[in-house]
């Protein structure tokens, strides 16, 4: 079994501070939280940025830069930038891909459209083609976000066309309001339909967050967790930091006996070039 890759999804773009005051908004807060997670064992940080004043999600490259540069200077963490924009408030395609110019190690690749965030999260074929081409051109590894099984089909078709390179790295996002449910069988089904030798990770949205992570732990998959995906550390207790989630899953992984992958070990598993873009290397 590979060492466990932990991705911390720091802030997302959907939930606001009216439901949890602990959601990082500013680039400084996002950097700080990312560094805490990296120190706790996260190999990857999945980054959205927000307007520092309003807290609304944005794809502003300047804000991404204010997160990426300090992380490159201070850590060797794998930087994964979202290309989602804001679910339900679809941004122009070109704006969604501007973050790629910062040459992150990875970027999210939402492999299809789905009802989400009170609207439709639109990822039509022409956008996927464009995103895949841009990621390939800029050597950015796609984190293929899968909200339902058809998105695996879509990703495999793009691989067959040579637009996505193997090994494919899937992030199963389970338990969204209109997506695949977060159940053991749902996860098993997805792991059975992805190509052999793919790498997979899972995040359970909301209450299934921890049990889904523990399923991945024992099945040899990888784990994404954090305030983007789950506001609660446990029932009725809000998470105060993202690192809390990382620390807990690291404890459970130790009890289970699976080692945590360092960023460089994660790079090797994912087929990323070593320390690409990191000033440490």
């Amino acid at each position: 079994m590979d060492k466990l890759i932990i991705t911390a999804a720091i802030t997302g773009s959907r939930n606001m501070r009216n439901i949890s005051p602990y959601i990082p908004y500013t680039p400084e807060e996002i950097v700080q939280s990312s560094i805490e997670c990296w120190n706790a064992g996260a190999a990857i940080v999945h980054i959205h940025v927000r307007d520092p004043e309003s807290g609304l999600g944005t794809q502003d490259p300047e804000l991404f830069k204010q997160v990426v540069e300090p992380l490159r200077e201070q850590t060797d963490v794998i930087v994964n930038l979202t290309t989602s924009g804001i679910a339900g408030r679809n941004l122009p395609m070109e704006d969604r891909l501007k973050s790629l110019e910062l040459r992150p190690d990875m970027a999210s690749f939402d492999a299809g459209s789905i009802n989400l965030g009170g609207g439709v999260f639109i990822n039509p074929p022409d956008f996927l083609d464009l995103a895949a081409n841009e990621m390939k051109r800029l050597h950015v590894k796609p984190e293929i976000e899968v909200f339902d099984s058809g998105m695996v089909t879509t990703a495999v078709a793009l691989r067959d066309k040579g637009k996505l390179e193997t090994p494919l790295y899937f992030q199963f996002v389970l338990g969204t309001p209109s997506g695949a449910v977060a159940t053991p069988k749902s996860l098993l089904h997805l792991t059975e339909i992805i190509p052999v030798n793919s790498i997979w990770s899972v995040t359970g949205i909301g209450r299934a967050h921890l049990p889904m992570a523990m399923m991945a732990l024992i099945m040899g998959g990888h784990i994404r967790l954090g305030i983007e995906d789950n506001l609660y550390y446990k029932q009725r207790v809000l998470a105060k930091t993202n690192a809390q989630f990382v620390v807990r899953i690291a404890r459970i992984a130790r009890e289970y006996g699976r080692e945590i992958a360092s960023p460089d070990e994660a790079r090797a598993i994912l087929g990323l070039s070593k320390g690409k873009g990191s000033k440490k290397d």
Partner: protein, 294 residues
């Protein structure tokens, strides 16, 4: 049954510790409790650590598995003298040595006699299907329907609760048949045993397949052995099932590190359950759920 990963709706976690088993002995791990005082001490330590059920097999003075009812009596009495942990006897007994030195699975008569143990155990297991038991060469583990029904009736006559061990999917159907015949009482408490040679292999897929055919309202736990034991147990715990651990199932704490005591295994599972947010059932809570009259 359908499995939703909703921790807040899950029952408290019943932890069973299988301290000894009926197959291996101290030659593979010297910390395995064999004699009545050792078994009772482990049961007590595990009870204090959070175990509610003690799954019991017994040994003769040489540490060999035996179906001797006197030894069962001695062990149950020794355990009950120390703590109120639920006592559960495995009705397979295990592989026993005969006077001529031969090693074989216990006979049907020896197994049926378990229903007469005094003091009575709180629970007995039944094994819901016949299959080739791969750990004793050329052994068929006989569990015919009529024999199981007779065994069940004898259990219920003495108010002994039962747990149904299923080593393959068809065994679950056999348990349902015993319910249809009006003998096995609901809710049924299923032990899904995976990874035994001759039975269903252990994997997340196989666990899900088995759970899928269990009727709603049943309780279930997963029993696997060796390196599959910890992952399968964690998977079951996440899904709202109860769990079993202990040196019957696993003599290594982790790869290359022999178990120091049964309580070490229980403590690990309690720690993981707490991280997950599942509360641990007390003996009284477990008795109520398992239908044990006390």
């Amino acid at each position: 049954m359908n499995v939703m990963l909703e921790i807040d709706k899950m029952d408290k976690l019943i932890i069973t510790v299988a301290t000894t088993g009926g197959l291996h002995d101290k030659s593979v791990n010297p910390n395995l409790p064999e004699q009545p005082d050792e078994i009772a001490q482990d049961a007590y330590d595990c009870y204090n650590a959070g175990a509610a059920v003690h799954h019991i097999h017994v040994r003769d003075k040489l540490g060999r598995t035996t179906g001797d009812l006197n030894v069962y009596s001695e062990v149950i009495s020794a355990v009950k003298a120390k703590c109120p942990i639920i006592t559960q006897i495995g009705n397979g007994i295990g592989g026993v040595y005969r006077a001529d030195g031969s090693f074989e699975v216990a006979t049907q008569e020896e197994r049926m006699d378990l229903t007469t143990i005094t003091p009575k155990p709180d629970m007995l297991t039944i094994n819901c299907g016949t299959f080739q038991f791969g750990y004793i060469p050329d052994t068929t583990f006989y569990n015919p329907l009529q024999w199981n029904l007779e065994f069940l009736k004898k259990c219920y006559e003495r108010d002994i609760a039962v747990e149904c061990e299923c080593y393959d999917i068809s065994h679950i159907e056999n348990a349902k048949e015993m319910v249809r015949q009006g003998v096995l009482k609901e809710p049924v408490h299923y032990s899904l045993v995976l990874g035994i040679k001759g039975g269903i292999p252990a994997s997340p897929q196989m666990i899900s397949a088995m759970v899928g055919v269990i009727p709603e309202g049943s309780s279930w736990q997963v029993i696997t052995i060796s390196k599959q034991q910890v992952p399968s147990t964690i998977m079951a715990m996440c899904q709202g099932a109860n769990i079993r651990t202990g040196m019957e199932d696993n003599i290594y704490y982790r790869k290359g590190e022999p178990v120091k005591s049964n309580v070490q295994l229980v403590e690990r599972m309690v720690r993981i359950a707490r991280e997950l947010g599942r509360e641990i059932a007390t003996v009284d809570e477990a008795k109520e759920r398992l239908g044990i009259k006390s």
